[in-house]
Each structure stands twice: as structure tokens, then as C-alpha cells.
């Protein structure tokens, strides 16, 4: 049968790339991580909906980086990777459920709640650009909102923000990139009102 032979060849190639990465070969490591993405997506798709797959891919890549000393070059790389990806998928889904229980998505209640600090006479005129941006930022997912808050609004360094949020610097960069992309897309569809 051809398929098992191809699988074995792929596993041997990935194992060799990982052994090179353990020795410090950055090119082999980057190629390995790219090659891992389809495998991780395959594992993640069995556990999570499509909108969570990218999160699981990223968390698994970071775990591979932190756990690379545990890979035994005499054993299957695919088996090692599969367990890590599966575990990260479970962690992401558990976190999603916890946040879903804690947070309430009620945009109409939010919109209709009066702000006691605002003079009601001029409240209707308060829909300025800063207010619109603030609302857009508040509507971002928690991770992206944190990245904007710490890196842009508070102008903290990556290291300081990583320490405060408990996220890696790479994750903060990714979240900020996504947040800016989302905000850009939003205001392209509906430009700011002066």
C-alpha cells in the first residue's frame, strides 16, 4: 500500500527536521513548523469549530517550541505532535467555554444603557470619532482588546505587556495585527462620522 509508506516517509522527514532544529538549525525549524500546520489543523478540526483552528495552531506551535527538548529522535514525530495538538485543542475549547459562561454578549443592552457621566442634553452629540473608535475597540475579542489596550493606548513595551497579560510576546504581536486588521475593515465599511 502506498499511503502508509508515504506516511512513514513524512514522519521520518519531520523527525529529521526536528533533530536538526534541536541542534539549532533555524531554517530546518521554520520549514518544520510550516509543515506541521496541516497536521495540527487536521487534529484541531476533530475537536474545535473552524473559528478556533487558528488559535489552536498557534498555541501548538508555541508548545512545540517550549517542549522541543522532550522529542526523542528515535520515536515518531507525528505521534508526538498529535498528542500536543490534541491537548492544546482541548485547552482552547475549555477556555472558550469558561469565557462564554463569564461574559455576556448583549449589544442592545449595552447600547441602551444611559451613561450617567454624560450630560443628557449633549449626549446625542457625543458620537464623535474617538467615541466610535473606543466602541469599536471595546467590541474586539478579549485578546485583541488587551493587545490594543496595553501596546497602543498605554504604550507599554512587548515585554511589559507580556508580563501583565500572561501571553507570549509573539501572541501579543499576532493579536495586535488582527485587531488593527479588524478595525481597518470596520471603518472601511462604515467611515467615522465627524
Amino acid at each position: 500500500m502506498q499511503q502508509p509508506v508515504d506516511t512513514d516517509k513524512r514522519d521520518a522527514r519531520l523527525g529529521a527536521q526536528m533533530a536538526s532544529a534541536q541542534a539549532g538549525d533555524r531554517n530546518a525549524y521554520a520549514a518544520l513548523l510550516r509543515d506541521c500546520i496541516p497536521l495540527i489543523r487536521g487534529v484541531a478540526s476533530r475537536r474545535a469549530p473552524p473559528d478556533r483552528i487558528d488559535d489552536i495552531v498557534q498555541e501548538t506551535l508555541i508548545t512545540i517550541h517550549r517542549a522541543r527538548q522532550t522529542y526523542d529522535p528515535h520515536r515518531s514525530f507525528t505521534a508526538w505532535l498529535t498528542v500536543i495538538a490534541d491537548r492544546r485543542a482541548l485547552d482552547v475549547m475549555r477556555r472558550t467555554l469558561r469565557e462564554g459562561h463569564r461574559e455576556v454578549h448583549a449589544p442592545l443592552i449595552y447600547e441602551n444603557h444611559p451613561d450617567e457621566r454624560v450630560n443628557p442634553v449633549i449626549a446625542e452629540d457625543r458620537d464623535d470619532a474617538a467615541f466610535q473608535v473606543g466602541r469599536a475597540v471595546a467590541a474586539l475579542p478579549a485578546g485583541q482588546r488587551e493587545a490594543v489596550q496595553y501596546l497602543v493606548l498605554q504604550e507599554q513595551s512587548l515585554a511589559a505587556a507580556a508580563q501583565q497579560t500572561g501571553r507570549s510576546e509573539g501572541a501579543l504581536k499576532v493579536n495586535l495585527h488582527r485587531a488593527l486588521k479588524a478595525l481597518r475593515a470596520k471603518f472601511e465599511r462604515k467611515p467615522l462620522q465627524p
Partner: protein
């Protein structure tokens, strides 16, 4: 652009590759377990220098339940530490946790038989409250350095099951301490004495399970994205 080549993945891959430093693959679980067991034997040899080894030999030879229990606790320590190092690796089965259970059953059963024996071992004295307190302190006291060393060694891996791994590590440390206790046990086993041993072992296992799980799981308190 394919899903595989999303910009965010490429950014992360570049970040990780740029951060790459050479690492030495961990030694096998058997080798790492041997290192820890060597530390246990070293502590035992140090204790033997202060123990009445002749009395220990006489005691163990006089009652089969005593040496079977000692063999059970020693075997439990060996198998539990091997299982803990297996569990510390991401690609190893959780079923390794079952490995020390048969030896633990033998240890518990043989210890219980001591209570049913209708005669006392020659050359031993009746156990006192102070003796029982000393047993508790010896088991807990020996477990502290052994479990601390074991947790430090386990952290070099990447533990995906910190609670289970810490539980088995606690069993290894407690079993090793109970084995070494035989060097300082100049009295016969009684029900209260064995109850104190049992309490000490449980205290050690629970403490390591709680504290060790936090220590082993702390490296994983990170989140890439929401």
C-alpha cells in the same frame, strides 16, 4: 492565500525560529529515574551509618510480612518514579500511571498483615506515642527533599498532565521514604503504628499532588490568542 500560510502564522514562525537555541534531548525516562533512585540510595546509605543494621536484619527475617512490605514499598518507589518520568513526556500514554499500583497493593496488604500477627518480633519494644510521632516525622521529612528533587527533574520535561504526574511523583517519594523508615523502626508493627504510616504517606501524596501540580503546570500558563 491558503489557510496554512496565514500572515499571523508566518509572523509566529519567524518569531520562534529567530528565538531558536540548541537543546539537548532529555535522557530516557529509565535513565532519569535511575538518577533519582541513586539519590534515594545515597540517603539510605547515609542513614544506614546511624542505624542498627543487625537489628534491622533480625526484624525483617523474623516476620515475612515485614520484608514483603519493605519490598512492596521499594518496588512501588521504583515503578512510580519510572512512571512519573514517562508521564512527563507529551507523547507517552496516561496508562503509565497504573504501573506502580500492583506493587502498592502488595505494600499495603503486607503492612496490614502485620496487624493480624498474634506475636511480637523478638528484640523489639512496644510502640509508644513518641515512636509513632517519629515515624510520621521521618516519612514526611525524608519525602520533602526526595519530592523536591523529583519535581525539579520532572520540570525539565514538558508535562501535559501536571496533576496526574504530581500524584505519581508523590507516591514515589512517599514509598521511598517508607522504605528508608525501616532503618529506624526498632519496634513491631501495630495497627496504630501502621495507621500513622498510612496517614504520613497520604499527607505526602496529597501535598505533592497539590504543590507539584502547580509547579509542573506553571510553564503552561500562557495563551497565544483568545
Amino acid at each position: 492565500m491558503s489557510a496554512q500560510n496565514r500572515p499571523s502564522h508566518e509572523i509566529l514562525i519567524a518569531e520562534l525560529a529567530g528565538d531558536l537555541a540548541p537543546v539537548t534531548p532529555l535522557p530516557s525516562p529509565a535513565r532519569r529515574a535511575s538518577i533519582w533512585l541513586a539519590a534515594v540510595i545515597f540517603i539510605g546509605l547515609c542513614g544506614a551509618a546511624f542505624a542498627d543494621l543487625h537489628a534491622v536484619t533480625v526484624r525483617l527475617a523474623a516476620a515475612p510480612d515485614m520484608w514483603i512490605a519493605m519490598a512492596g514499598s521499594a518496588l512501588t518507589a521504583v515503578l512510580a518514579v519510572f512512571a512519573a518520568f514517562q508521564l512527563s513526556l507529551p507523547d507517552r500514554s496516561r496508562l503509565w500511571a497504573v504501573l506502580p499500583l500492583p506493587a502498592a497493593m502488595m505494600w499495603i496488604a503486607a503492612s496490614g498483615v502485620g496487624c493480624l500477627r498474634g506475636w511480637s518480633i523478638p528484640g523489639t519494644h512496644a510502640v509508644t506515642t513518641g515512636d509513632e510521632r517519629d515515624c510520621l516525622l521521618i516519612i514526611v521529612g525524608l519525602s520533602i527533599p526526595l519530592s523536591a528533587l523529583l519535581i525539579v527533574m520532572l520540570r525539565r520535561a514538558f508535562v501535559l498532565e501536571p496533576a496526574l504526574t504530581a500524584l505519581i511523583a508523590g507516591l514515589a517519594a512517599a514509598a521511598a521514604a517508607a522504605t528508608l523508615l525501616n532503618l529506624f523502626h526498632p519496634f513491631d508493627a501495630t495497627a496504630s503504628d501502621l495507621a500513622v504510616h498510612g496517614v504520613a504517606v497520604l499527607v505526602v501524596i496529597i501535598a505533592i499532588r497539590l504543590l507539584g501540580a502547580r509547579a509542573l503546570g506553571s510553564d503552561q500558563k500562557f495563551r497565544a490568542t483568545v
